[in-house]
Amino acid sequence: MTSIKSIRSRTVVLPTKDIDTDQIIAARFLTTTSRDGLGESLFYDLRYTADGSERTGFPLNKAEAKGCGILVAGNNFGCGSSREHAPWALLDYGFQAIISTEIADIFRNNSLKNGLVPVVVDGDTHRWLLDNPGAEVEIDVQNATLKLPDGQTTKFPIDGFAKYCLVEGVDQLGFLRQHADAITRFEETRAWKP
């Protein structure tokens, strides 16, 4: 994994609450055996009508949304399935971070494994971000802070280990494998075996 220390970008805003992983990437795109190229399928049914034409009102389809690396979404973003295709699609599209007041467990976990930074903020900060699409903000991963255009800085919660892995570009499988001996001992000594 590549190291991610900070992200500076304009935001694109999807204010809807409870955006689920089926909306992020619909199941019909999950027959792939690769993790690449899923950006095309991101939010597909929100971006396009049934006949394939662009929905002009959808925020990602607006000219000013191009090149935005930070998605600000309504509460409880990423609820639903465990499909890691959701963060893969967001990353492939060009997003580097998601900001919301709440981010669903499995999605957040999958995001952290892939270098998509989940940022949970308070209601006031969130409201300001929802009201100001296109704002240029800065996410400092090392210090776990979000800086708004006026310079105001807020802390966001992030697990210390997850942060370490992001900042140092650590592959967690490598970390797990360092404990191979402990795993073997556990398997040998546990009271009962499955």
Partner: protein, 466 residues
């Protein structure tokens, strides 16, 4: 150990390396169920690193999500829908062969939906840690296992190390007191719970379902309840094992046998929350207030009693957007709405008791003109058992379709979809926009409500057929 919750007992029994401020715990996984959709990229990673699967015998592979359910006389005739799905299925077969995994594939009498076959085989057991690259892994918690969904990167972690890096979650107790009224099912119960706590009410928590109403449920019903824990935001939901659990597991192919059975039961009997153990959060619900439930919006928390009016979401734009998508009006009960498609099946309601319940309503009746009804068994075994007692004949005589086992219309990635704009009453778990097909409008309900709605061609209170 005193004053521990059921969750804490199972958790602490599997900690290989304890968590610290700096690092999460290494948690050992007893059973890893895998399927064709969320594993190909994990096998690719193992191949890149030259790693084997650490414990093939703790890995249970099958195929269910992208497999067709079109009736066939032989599995040689199975027509997989789309080259991409066919490729995914072939890769699952070749990955399992390459890594030495015993795939429960086409033609195997035990093939079926991951969360149906684990329990059916007796591989799902109390006190185990169980994961799968599927969020409805919470189903297995019905046996007192700690079971949760993981992403593909973590599938790779478990394949390679049989462990996961995990922070200990919080606990949420959901007590259902009293007796569930006649004509009300486990599906109605869990929909009511999600309606109460909201789709994010369980985020960061493991649920334990407790109380008289839970203890009175059979295993199929307990699985329905635990299955939808994730729809309330909780990765896992658990129920303490009891005699109902042990009776279900006794004699199953992968259950402990002989003397091992006795010692297993003795161990499993310890798996209950101690008197005085504390939960981080607690919710109570009186079973006597329950009625058949149906969803009206685009997430499982947007749910209403069958005879109650759809609520008014005020000026919440997300609520408005959901009702516009569903073409549902506030202030009227759901029973006014005409139905196009009815789906009975999925890991939520695709077990034998669910098929029986649908057949009970359908017996001697006909599916209304213009309604397409699919009944899809959750596994080959459910299919065989249903056919042995003639349920397929009742279903076919009513004009419904009787299909092969699989995820089918729950996920719409296998050829079974709801057409654009059509209203589906579905026994599955998610009414998200587009979940059952582009533009599909999904109403979640119990098998009885779904079958009753098929007969009348409108969303229907199933108690008129009881």
């Amino acid at each position: 150990m005193s004053n521990s919750t059921l969750f804490e007992k199972v958790w602490s029994d599997h900690v290989v390396v304890p968590e610290t401020v700096e690092t999460p715990a290494l948690l050992y996984i007893d059973l890893h169920i895998i399927h064709e959709v969320t594993t190909p990229q994990a096998f690719t990673r193992l191949r890149e690193l030259g790693l084997p699967v650490r414990r093939p015998e703790l890995t249970l592979p099958t195929m269910d999500h992208s497999t067709p359910t079109t009736p066939v006389s032989s599995f040689k005739d199975l027509a997989i829908v789309g080259d991409s799905a066919a490729n995914q299925i072939r890769q699952m077969e070749s990955n399992c062969a390459e890594f030495g995994l015993d795939l429960i594939g086409f033609g195997n009498d035990h093939r079926g939906i991951v969360h149906v076959i684990g329990p059916e085989l007796g591989a799902t057991q109390p006190g185990k840690t169980i994961v799968c690259g599927d969020s409805h892994s919470s189903t297995h918690g019905a046996f007192g296992a700690l079971a949760f969904g993981i992403g593909t990167t973590e599938v790779g972690h478990v394949l390679a190390t049989q462990c996961l890096l995990q922070r200990k979650p919080k606990t949420l107790s959901i007590d259902i007191d009293g007796k569930i009224p006649d004509g009300v099912t486990a599906k109605d119960l869990i929909l009511a719970v999600i309606g109460q706590i909201g789709v994010d009410g369980g985020t960061g928590h493991v649920i334990e379902y407790r109380g008289d109403a839970i203890a009175a449920l059979d295993m199929d019903s307990r699985m329905t309840v635990c299955n939808m824990s994730i729809e309330g935001g909780a990765r896992a939901g658990m129920i303490a094992p009891d005699d109902t659990t042990f009776e279900y597991l006794h004699g199953r192919p992968r259950s402990p046998q002989g003397a091992d059975w006795e010692s297993a039961v003795a161990r499993w009997q310890q798996l209950r929350t101690d008197e005085g153990a504390e939960f981080d959060k607690a919710v109570r619900l009186a079973a006597s207030t329950l009625q058949p439930m149906v969803t009206f919006g685009t997430n499982p928390g947007m749910v209403v009693g069958i005879s109650d009016p759809v609520p008014d979401g005020g000026d919440d734009p997300s609520f408005r957007k959901a009702l516009d998508y569903m073409r549902i009006e506030s202030g009227k009960p759901m029973t006014d709405n005409p139905v196009d498609v009815v789906f009975i099946g999925s890991c939520t309601n695709g077990r034998l008791s669910d098929i029986k319940e649908a057949a009970r309503v359908l017996k001697g009746r006909k599916v209304a003109a213009g309604v397409r009804m699919l009944v899809v068994p959750g596994s080959q075994q459910v299919k065989n058992e249903a056919e042995a007692i003639g349920l397929d004949q009742i279903i076919l005589a009513a004009g419904a379709e009787w299909r092969e086992a699989g995820c089918s219309m729950c996920i719409g990635m296998n050829g079974d979809t709801v057409p654009h704009g059509k209203l589906s009453v579905s026994t599955s778990n998610r009414n998200f926009e587009g979940r059952q097909g582009i533009g599909a409008r999904t109403v979640l309900a119990s098998p009885a409500t779904a079958a009753a709605s098929a007969v009348r061609g409108r969303v229907t209170d199933p108690r008129i057929f009881s």
